[in-house]
């Protein structure tokens, strides 16, 4: 845990100092909402359409951070530094999952009120939607950290990361959309309809966290 904390604190410190990911993610999300607002020509969205707009925006905003997740490790020798130390390399994976989760949570704290304002979402739907997004974040962070590690040492990483990541997150997006639809339904959230989808999301998160933890040492090998 000490190694995980050390790497996570380092990542957050560098992000706070350079602001390379979060402002871009927030700007992307807000701009996308503006485009949907005028593209769909709707002042109110609910149900599956609202779920789609929200989740697709979060997914593509996440891609911006996932592409940059290992830039410092690749360009400044972080991979070597961590492999030279007497630590479990999987701690790097967990720290990156933690960092990406935090970036996404901060993004959503900014983006969700903007979404609600643009598309007339009921205020009472927001807490449950934030809870759902926490599960989505965990899945995106676990899958993103894995794929980003694979892409980090490839010259075609900017292309490779989305091409590998997007098919992998299809089950995550299906479950998230299934859960979000009743939460963003017209007339207020229906929590009972979201339960099984939330369980499915939690299972996806668990599987990718365990897979990442198990294979990470091999991914770092040359």
């Amino acid at each position: 845990m000490a190694t995980l904390r050390t790497i996570l604190v380092k990542d957050l410190r560098i992000e706070l100092r350079t602001l390379q990911s979060l402002p871009a993610m927030a700007l992307f999300a807000v701009t996308t909402f503006v485009i949907f607002r005028f593209g769909l020509d709707r002042t109110e969205l609910e149900g599956s359409l609202a779920a789609g707009v929200l989740l697709v925006t979060v997914l593509f905003a996440a891609l911006l951070a996932i592409n940059r997740l290992f830039v410092a490790e690749r360009d400044e020798g972080g991979f070597d530094a961590i492999r030279l130390a007497p630590v479990d390399s999987a701690q790097l994976f967990l720290a990156k999952v933690g960092a990406l989760f935090i970036y996404l949570a901060v993004l959503e704290v900014i983006a969700l009120p903007v979404f609600a304002m643009f598309f007339g979402t009921e205020a009472e739907a927001l807490p449950a939607t934030l809870g759902l997004l926490a599960l989505v974040n965990l899945g995106l962070a676990a899958t993103g950290a894995l794929v980003s590690t694979i892409g980090a040492n490839s010259r075609a990483r900017d292309l490779l990361t989305p091409l590998v990541l997007l098919p992998l997150v299809v089950p995550l997006m299906i479950s998230a959309a299934g859960a979000a639809e009743p939460l963003l339904a017209a007339g207020g959230p229906d929590l009972s309809g979201a339960g099984k989808w939330m369980a499915s999301l939690a299972l996806y998160d668990l599987v990718f966290l365990l897979v990442g933890y198990a294979v990470y040492e091999f991914l770092l090998e040359d």
């Binding site: 380092k10 560098i14 410092a72 400044e76 961590i82 030279l84 007497p86």
Partner: protein, 234 residues
Amino acid sequence: MPPPVVEVLSLRRDFGDESVLREVSLRLDQGQTLVVLGPNGAGKSTLLRMLATLLRPTAGELRVLGAELPRRAYEARGRIGFLGHAPLLYRDLTLIEALRFHAELHRVAAAEERIRDLTEAVGLGRRRDQLVRTLSAGQLQRAAVCRCVLHGPELLLLDEPGSHLDPAGQATIRPLIGPGDGTTRVIVTHDVEGGLAEADRVLALDAQGSVAYEGPVAGFTPADARVLYAGAPR
């Protein structure tokens, strides 16, 4: 007789279809210094990265600090100080933050005191709060030396340790990575005379990555080195 610190037998490393190191064998005992010489592309840095557990051999046997690599790399990690071409310091951290990061990874006891002593020893005491990205190449090399020895390694793997350093800079790092304290060292260098002066053993690699000489320093002269470099393709 204590086991060797480094033991290499018929080591080979390929990148794709190309072999960059062929049939390298060597042995290095506790406290000895091995100097690795050879023209560019001879596989010197590749050898160093394999000894550092960062690269897997394609074939052959490799044992470092008693650990068979790559299978038991975790036994050697944390006991090796590696100074490569990159300083392995995050550019957007201050020097003290970057060194603290490494100290935490290596669980260095009394880290703050150790960092203070090392940075002062290499003349970077007043640069501790400066971002790594703002350091000059020479300062960065001295900072990398601090990072390399921070955890008190038993084996030092040094790739051109004097690069970017003026004579005064080289003098500041010498007490930390020089022959003084009996640490076992593998040094890759193009400074033939300087390297041979510090060496107990020499490994000379030709341009194809094969061993041209491996043995005691007494059996290798600067004239041999000139022949070695003259044989390199231009």
